[in-house]
């Protein structure tokens, strides 16, 4: 079991950020077992921009929660930057999430009593970042999300799109290994959704930040470079494998 201080791992470009082996989550296990997630293998590398799609009840959110360390699988292991998070205690998981994972939720979930700036700063304060560094980073992040003029505005005075952009800035505040976004565009109009996706795509491209979305939104699916389809808790399709297969096929044909 690693110490809390060693819970923040550094991943090389192209190295595995998430490695999930045989993970399953079973509900009503004492009566009729229902597999929310059934024997899923998932390998995500740094810099990926991946969408997790599937019908309602297919296990997207459950899988995302387990990868995010919010829920534990009943079977299997999840290795993030070399740390098996299924072996961590609840308190260790809290610290692990703080240092490694950024979250963007469907309903923004900003703290209403804090301003936009304070919402983002809050995470940095939890990480014990000093004031100077915090201020620098807040300004940089708000520039990136295009809300430099809304620093001292409370969430209730921001539009849905603006709130979600602040949520992205908050997710980035802790310099996480990857960002998990659960239906981030579900509550946004087209223009806001498009704007948010632009920002996230740019961050992915320029700063090589890894994104894993759970989504129904075709706009997100269209922008994703990899799409994993879940059906009844199993991976029914993974475009990465398709692409690899196509690559293999074309290579063997060339040879």
């Amino acid at each position: 079991m690693p110490g809390l201080s060693s819970l923040r791992g550094e991943t090389e470009r192209g190295a595995a950020v998430i490695d999930a082996h045989n993970i399953s989550k079973v509900y009503n296990s004492k009566t009729i077992p229902v597999y929310a997630v059934n024997n899923v293998h998932l390998h995500l590398e740094r810099g990926e921009f991946t969408a997790l799609v599937g019908p309602s009840g297919s296990g997207k959110t459950t899988l995302l929660n387990m990868i995010g360390g919010l829920d534990k699988p009943d079977e299997g292991n999840i290795i993030i930057n070399g740390v098996d998070i299924t072996k961590l205690s609840a308190n260790e998981l809290i610290d692990f999430r703080l240092r490694n994972i950024g979250f963007v939720f469907q309903s923004f979930n900003l703290i209403p009593v804090l301003t936009a700036k304070e919402n983002v700063e809050f995470i940095m304060q939890l990480q014990k970042m000093n004031r100077e560094e915090r201020n620098k980073r807040v300004i940089k992040l708000f520039k990136e999300i295009g809300l430099e003029d809304k620093l001292n505005v409370r969430p209730s005075k921001l539009s849905g799109g603006q709130q979600q952009r602040v949520a992205v800035a908050r997710a980035l505040a802790s310099k996480p290994q990857f960002i998990l976004a659960d239906e981030p565009t579900a509550n946004l109009d087209s223009a806001s959704a498009s704007n948010l996706l632009d920002i996230m795509a740019l961050l992915n491209k320029e700063e090589n930040i890894t994104f894993l979305f759970s989504t129904h939104d075709q706009r997100v699916i269209d922008r994703a470079r990899r799409v994993i389809t879940l059906v009844d808790g199993r991976i029914a399709k993974d475009t990465a494998e398709v692409n690899t297969n196509i690559l293999h096929t074309s290579l063997s044909e060339t040879n």
């Binding site: 809290i94 979930n109 804090l114």
Partner: protein, 406 residues
């Protein structure tokens, strides 16, 4: 940041927070009012005990108080009395001849303590003159006059001018009786004492007791209440052969009452705060349940349990302490007003008040000495009230909480 969040959180539902703050303010005011009233009553009781009953210190022969035998007079009484009067810190000192006896009229009899006094000196030492409600002070030209308390007068159906017989034993153990005429009826704030004590002149009493110019008791009034232990110590060194007692020893029930009332006032305060704690718990629990999703999000993002607990604790403390200055201010203003104008409790029954030895007009006093204690009770209330909501918040599982499930 947690401080800022806690402070802003209590204003998210203004009406609810203001209601709980007001109830804390009112509860605190009620507590302070009770403490102030008790303090006023105790001060008044102590004042009555010292000024009108026991004095600050009394001197007796060591054997006298065992059976109140008249033969145990203070040896060299006059010299002792004069020496005591010369002591710094002593305001006045008066001698008394004291014995237990029987008061009889044509209709009945009652056991009483008969106090033989030198009127002018006694008027200074026990305010006897001010307590007279009927009749006149002792007339030096008349013999065998007696002053009786109102309660005894009512019980024995005596009026001024009525005749009665006092019977007691003299120094040789023989029973002696004297016929006395009621010169005055007095009333103090302590009805039981009025019923037990009658006053005659020392001259008349000593003639019956055959004690000459001697006496059994010296009662001292000091310039300052705080000097009692020092003066008592001085007297003990100077007159080791006599029994020297402070008012606390002479009237232990008063001292006990003061101490018990002190404890009682804390108990009352705790009960008030205990009742308020349920209001605070309810408010905080509602606040936590309303914010299940938000707290779940905070935990998901990496807020540890200590910080979540601290947030709930600070919110509870702010909520509790915000009402505190208002309660203290109202309490202080009300106490200040009544400490000057007095609070007339005669509506509760003058007889009842005096039967417990209390004056009917109470001058409440702000319990500054109990201020720290009160604040501690408020603070402990806040901490205890936060525990249940905090445990509720700590038990939230992020996955369920993010879906808004409590």
């Amino acid at each position: 940041m947690i401080f800022i969040m806690a402070w802003r959180n209590i204003w998210r539902n203004k009406m609810r927070s203001i209601v709980i703050m007001l109830s804390i303010a009112i509860g605190l005011f009620a507590g302070i009012a009770v403490l102030a009233l008790y303090k006023g009553m105790m001060k008044s009781r102590i004042r009555t005990t010292i000024d009108a009953e026991a004095g600050h210190i009394q001197v007796h022969d060591v054997n006298f108080k065992k059976d109140y035998e008249p033969k145990f007079t203070i040896v060299n009484g006059e010299r002792v009395l004069n020496d005591i009067r010369k002591l710094p810190g002593v305001k006045t000192a008066a001698p008394r001849s004291v014995t237990k006896g029987m008061l009889a009229t044509t209709t009945g009899s009652a056991g009483v303590q008969i106090n033989g006094i030198i009127p002018e000196q006694e008027y200074e030492a026990s305010q006897l003159k001010q307590k007279i409600i009927e009749g006149k002070v002792f007339d030096s030209a008349k013999k065998n006059e007696v002053m009786i308390g109102k309660k005894l007068a009512n019980k024995m159906k005596l009026k001024t001018g009525s005749k009665l017989v006092l019977t007691f034993t003299d120094t040789s153990g023989s029973i002696v009786s004297g016929a006395f005429r009621v010169a005055a009826i007095y009333q103090s704030a302590n009805a039981p004492l009025d019923e037990r004590n009658v006053y005659v002149t020392m001259h008349d009493m000593n003639a019956l007791l055959t004690t000459g110019n001697t006496f059994h008791e010296i009662v001292l009034l000091l310039k300052n209440d705080e000097d009692v232990p020092a003066v008592k110590q001085q007297l003990l060194q100077r007159f080791p052969a006599y029994k020297i007692e402070s008012w606390k020893e002479i009237s232990p029930e008063t001292d006990l009452l003061v101490k018990t009332t002190d404890q009682l006032s804390y108990i009352l305060m705790t009960i008030i705060m205990f009742a308020l704690a349920f209001g605070i718990i309810n408010t905080m629990l509602m606040a936590i349940l309303e914010r299940t999703r938000e707290i779940g999000m905070m935990v998901a993002l990496g807020t540890n349990k200590v910080k979540i607990f601290l947030l709930v604790l600070l919110e509870t403390i702010f909520l509790t302490l915000a009402g505190t200055p208002v309660g203290i201010l109202i309490g202080w203003l009300a106490t200040n007003y009544y400490s000057k104008h007095g609070l007339d409790l005669s509506g509760m029954g003058k007889e009842m008040m005096s039967s417990f030895g209390y004056s009917t007009v109470i001058y409440p006093e702000f319990p500054a000495d109990k201020f720290l204690g009160v604040m501690l009770i408020v603070f402990i209330t806040a901490i205890l009230s936060c525990l249940f909501p905090a445990i509720k918040a700590l038990r939230l599982k992020p996955v369920e909480a993010l879906q808004g499930l409590p």
